[in-house]
C-alpha cells in the first residue's frame, strides 16, 4: 500500500465508525427519550396513551392510598391541575405528601390513570427536582428560595 492508500484506509474506517455512531444517536434521540410534563401540560397537550413520559409535581395532600399489596395510588398536582397515579413497588425514602416527585410511565388506553413504573423523589431534604421547581414557579406557587 502506498502512503496515500494507507491514509485513505484509516480515514474511511474512521468515517464509517463515526457515521454509524451518528446514525445510532439520531435514531436513539428519536425514539428513546422521555419528555417531562406537568399536570397542566397533560391537560393542555392531550398526551396519547402508551407514550412514555415523565410527570412531575407535588404529591397531593391526603391522596396516598396504599392497597393491600404493593400497589400504591396517589395524585400529582401542580395546584392548577392534577393527575391520578398508580404504582406498584417500593416508594423512595423521601416520598411524602406535599413533596416534589417525578414519576415515569404512560397512560393506558381509555383510562385517565397514569401507570408509573418508576418514582423519583429527592435525595436530600433541601432539594427539589429542578423540573418540578420550574413548573411550580410557572404556576406561581413556588415557596422555596428564589435562586
Amino acid at each position: 500500500m502506498t502512503r496515500k492508500q494507507k491514509r485513505l484506509a484509516i480515514i474511511s474506517g474512521g468515517v464509517a465508525v463515526i457515521g454509524a455512531a451518528v446514525l445510532l444517536v439520531l435514531f436513539a434521540l428519536q425514539d428513546q427519550i422521555v419528555y417531562f410534563h406537568s399536570p397542566t401540560d397533560i391537560v393542555e397537550k392531550q398526551i396519547g396513551p402508551d407514550t412514555r413520559i415523565r410527570l412531575g409535581g407535588l404529591v397531593a395532600e391526603k391522596s396516598v392510598v396504599r392497597g393491600t399489596g404493593t400497589k400504591v395510588e396517589f395524585v400529582v398536582t401542580d395546584t392548577a391541575n392534577e393527575v391520578a397515579i398508580t404504582y406498584t413497588g417500593i416508594l423512595p425514602d423521601l416520598f411524602r405528601e406535599g413533596q416534589g416527585v417525578i414519576v415515569e410511565g404512560a397512560f393506558e388506553p381509555g383510562n385517565p390513570v397514569f401507570v408509573a413504573d418508576s418514582v423519583l423523589a429527592k435525595h436530600d431534604e433541601n432539594y427539589m427536582p429542578k423540573e418540578v421547581a420550574e413548573s411550580l414557579k410557572a404556576q406561581g406557587v413556588w415557596q422555596g428560595e428564589e435562586k
Binding site: 494507507k6 413497588g89 417500593i90 425514602d93
Partner: protein, 661 residues
C-alpha cells in the same frame, strides 16, 4: 484561630500560584534559570499552604466547631469520627478543597520527581498547573469559602446527608478526584509542549506514568462509586447513566484512549498531534464534569446545592481553559511534525481503532448527557435521556471494540499479519464459543444475546492469557526457557493483559446480571417466605434498633437453601435524627460471585412490610473486573521503563520543530 489561618493560607496559596503562573514561563522563554527555578519551589509551597488549609478545615470538622458555617451545615457532634472526617468533602466547599489539594499534590509531585525533565518543559508544565490552581483558588475564595464563620455559633450541627454517612464517602471522592484531577498533569504537559512547540517520544514517556496513575485511580473511583450507589441507595442498580456518572465516565473513556495513544507515541513516535489533542480533551471532560456537578444544571444524587454564580464562574474557567488550549492547539499543532509510518494492519493500527471507538463512544455519551440541557435552552422542552439511549448507542460501539481487543497486543508494530494472529487466537475463540453455547444450552430461558455476551467476556480473558502465553513462547520452547521468558516479560505486558482480563470479567458480570437477575416485590408478614434465585427467604419480623445518630427498623430474614438455613440477613429503614431523613439500608448476602439483595419498603398495617428481593447472579464480577483493571494499571506503573522514567541524558536531545523527518 486555626480556621482564620486556614483561610489566610488559601490566600497565600493564590499569591504563590499567581507567581508560579507567570515567572517560569518568562524564565523558559528567556532561558533564565533563576526564573525557571521559581516553579518547583512555588509548587511545593502551594502544596504546603493548601495542605495546611485543608488540615485546618479537617480540624474544625473533627472538633465539631459549629462556628464554621460549613461544619454546621454538614456535621453533627454525634456522628461517628470516620464520617466527621470524610464529611469534610461531603459538600461543595469541602470537596473543592479536596480538588485543590489533589491538584497541587500532583504539581508538587512533578516538582519533586521531575528532576530529569528538560528545564523549560518542567517550568512550562508547572506554570500551566498553576493557571489551573489559580483559577480554582479564586473560585473557592470568591464563591465557596469553606472558612466562613457563624456568629453566634450554633450548639449543634445540621448533620451530614445520611446517604453520605458511609465508608464509601471516605474512599470514592478521593479516588475519583485523584483520577479526574490527575489528568490535569497530562493537560499541562500537552499545553507545555504546544508552548514549547516541540514534542517527542521522551514527552510521551513522561506523560504515560501520569496518565496511568490518574486512570488507575479513576477506574477504582468509578467502580467504588458504582458499588456504593448499588448498596446504599437500595435501588439494586449499579449504573444509571445518570448525567453525573457520565461526567466521570467520559474522562475515563477519553483517558483510556489517551493511555493507548501515548503508547503508540512512546514506542513509534506516531499519533503525536492526536495524543496532544486527547490529553487536552480528557482534562476538558474532567472540567466539564466539575461544571455539571457544581453548577446546578443537573438534578442528580451528586448535584450540590445550586448557586448560579458558581455555575457561571466554573463555566468561565471551563471556557477559558478549553478554549485557550484548543486555540493554542490550532495555532501550533501543524508545527509538530508527524511521526512514524505504519500499515493499517499493525499494532499502531489496532490502537488507532481503539482510539476511534473510544472517542466515538465518548462523543455519544457526551451527546446523551448534554442534549437535554441544549434542547431545554433552545426549545424549552424538558426531556430525560436514560438507559435506553445509551444502550442503543454506546452498546453497539463497544461490541466491535471488545471483539478487537485480543488482536491488538498480538499484532506486530509497524506491519502486522492479521491471519497469523487469528491462528494464535483459535484457542481463545474456541473457549469463547464453547462457553457461549453452554450458556445458551444450559441456562433455561437465556436469551441468545446473553450467551454471546458472556462468550465475549471469555474471549477477552482468554485473549489476554494467549498474549502472555505467546510472549513466553508456550508450545514453542522448552519449559525452563518458557519460564525464563515469562519472568523476563516487562511488567507493562502483565499490566496490559491484567487490565484486558479485568475488562472481560466486568463484561461477564454486566451481561449475567442484565440477563439473569430476578426481582420480586412482595408484602411479607413474619414467618412468610419468598424466593430469590436458589434461596428461600424467610421473614422473621421487624425490630427497632438505635444507632449513634439514627434510629432504625430492622427487617430480619433467614436464608434457606433446600429447607436448611444457610445464613441470615438484615435490611433496615433508618431515620437520621438531626435531619429526620429516612434512608434504606439494603441487606446483601454474597454467595460466591452472586448476591441476594433485599430492600425494605413501607410498613403495612397488620405487621406486614413491603420487601423487594433481587437475585443478582455474578454481579460482583462487575467490580472485580474493575479492580483487575486498576491492578493492571498499578503493575504497568511499576514497569522498569517507567520507573527509571525518562530516557538517559546521553541520548540525542529532542529534535526541534520541523527538523524531524
Amino acid at each position: 484561630m486555626i480556621v482564620e489561618l486556614g483561610h489566610y493560607a488559601l490566600i497565600m496559596a493564590l499569591a504563590t500560584a499567581l507567581l508560579q503562573s507567570v515567572l517560569p514561563i518568562i524564565g523558559a522563554r528567556t532561558r533564565d534559570a533563576g526564573l525557571m527555578g521559581v516553579a518547583p519551589a512555588a509548587a511545593i509551597a502551594s502544596f504546603v499552604l493548601i495542605l495546611f488549609a485543608f488540615v485546618a478545615l479537617t480540624v474544625s470538622y473533627v472538633t465539631s466547631d459549629f462556628s464554621v458555617k460549613n461544619v454546621w451545615e454538614n456535621s453533627h457532634s454525634m456522628m461517628p469520627m470516620i464520617y466527621k472526617f470524610s464529611g469534610v468533602w461531603g459538600n461543595h466547599e469541602g470537596s473543592m478543597m479536596l480538588w485543590l489539594l489533589i491538584l497541587v499534590f500532583f504539581s508538587a509531585l512533578v516538582a519533586f520527581f521531575g528532576g530529569n525533565l528538560p528545564a523549560t518543559l518542567k517550568s512550562n508544565v508547572l506554570a500551566v498547573q498553576a493557571w489551573i490552581t489559580s483559577a480554582f483558588l479564586t473560585f473557592v475564595l470568591l464563591t465557596s469559602n469553606p472558612f466562613q464563620r457563624l456568629s453566634p455559633a450554633p450548639l449543634e450541627g445540621r448533620d451530614l446527608n445520611p446517604i453520605l454517612q458511609d465508608i464509601g464517602l471516605a474512599i470514592h471522592p478521593p479516588m475519583l478526584y485523584l483520577g479526574y484531577v490527575g489528568f490535569s498533569i497530562c493537560f499541562s504537559f500537552a499545553v507545555a509542549a504546544l508552548i514549547d512547540g516541540r514534542i517527542d517520544a521522551a514527552w510521551a514517556r513522561w506523560v504515560r506514568p501520569w496518565t496511568l496513575a490518574a486512570w488507575t485511580a479513576l477506574t477504582a473511583g468509578i467502580a467504588m462509586g458504582s458499588y456504593w450507589a448499588y448498596y446504599e441507595l437500595g435501588w439494586g442498580g449499579w449504573w444509571f447513566w445518570d448525567p453525573v456518572e457520565n461526567a466521570s465516565f467520559m474522562p475515563w473513556l477519553a483517558g483510556t484512549a489517551l493511555l493507548h495513544s501515548a503508547l503508540v507515541m512512546e514506542k513509534r513516535e506516531a499519533l503525536k498531534i492526536w495524543t496532544i489533542l486527547l490529553a487536552i480533551m480528557t482534562f476538558s471532560l474532567s472540567l466539564l464534569g466539575t461544571f455539571l456537578v457544581r453548577s446546578g444544571v443537573l438534578t442528580s444524587v451528586h448535584a450540590f446545592a445550586t448557586d448560579p454564580t458558581r455555575g457561571i464562574f466554573i463555566l468561565c474557567i471551563l471556557v477559558a481553559f478549553i478554549g485557550g488550549a484548543f486555540t493554542l492547539f490550532a495555532l501550533r499543532a501543524q508545527t509538530l511534525s508527524p511521526g512514524g509510518l505504519f500499515a493499517p494492519i499493525s499494532r499502531e493500527g489496532a490502537l488507532v481503532l481503539n482510539n476511534l471507538f473510544l472517542t466515538t463512544a465518548t462523543a455519544t455519551v457526551l451527546v446523551g448527557t448534554l442534549y437535554p440541557l441544549v434542547l431545554e435552552a433552545i426549545t424549552g422542552a424538558k426531556i430525560s435521556v436514560g438507559p435506553p439511549f445509551f444502550n442503543l448507542t454506546f452498546g453497539p460501539l463497544m461490541i466491535p471494540l471488545l471483539l478487537a481487543v485480543p488482536f491488538g497486543p498480538l499484532l506486530a508494530w509497524k506491519r502486522g499479519d492479521l491471519w497469523a494472529v487469528t491462528q494464535r487466537l483459535y484457542m481463545a475463540a474456541g473457549a469463547a464459543l464453547l462457553v457461549s453455547l453452554a450458556v445458551i444450552y444450559f441456562a433455561t430461558g437465556a436469551p441468545v444475546m446473553a450467551g454471546l455476551g458472556i462468550g465475549l467476556g471469555v474471549w477477552l480473558i482468554a485473549g489476554s492469557l494467549t498474549d502472555i502465553a505467546m510472549r513466553s513462547g508456550v508450545g514453542k520452547v522448552a519449559l525452563p526457557i518458557m519460564w525464563r521468558r515469562f519472568k523476563g516479560l516487562p511488567r507493562s505486558a502483565f499490566g496490559g493483559a491484567l487490565a484486558h482480563m479485568g475488562l472481560g470479567v466486568s463484561v461477564i458480570g454486566i451481561v449475567a446480571v442484565t440477563a439473569f437477575a430476578t426481582e420480586n416485590v412482595v408484602t411479607m408478614k413474619p414467618g412468610e417466605t419468598t424466593v430469590g434465585g436458589p434461596f428461600t427467604l424467610q421473614f422473621e419480623g421487624l425490630k427497632p434498633n438505635t444507632g449513634p445518630n439514627y434510629t432504625e427498623l430492622q427487617g430480619r430474614f433467614i436464608i434457606l437453601r433446600d429447607g436448611q438455613p444457610v445464613s441470615h440477613l438484615t435490611a433496615a429503614k433508618r431515620v437520621f435524627t438531626a435531619r429526620q431523613m429516612p434512608t434504606t439500608e439494603a441487606g446483601i448476602y454474597t454467595n460466591g460471585a452472586n448476591q441476594l439483595y433485599v430492600a425494605l419498603g413501607d410498613e403495612l398495617p397488620g405487621g406486614g412490610v413491603v420487601v423487594r428481593v433481587w437475585w443478582k447472579p455474578w454481579v460482583t464480577f462487575i467490580w472485580f473486573g474493575a479492580i483487575f483493571m486498576s491492578l493492571g494499571g498499578i503493575v504497568s506503573l511499576f514497569d522498569r521503563r517507567l520507573r527509571i522514567g525518562a530516557p538517559a541524558k546521553s541520548r540525542a536531545p529532542a529534535v526541534a520543530v520541523g527538523q524531524e523527518t
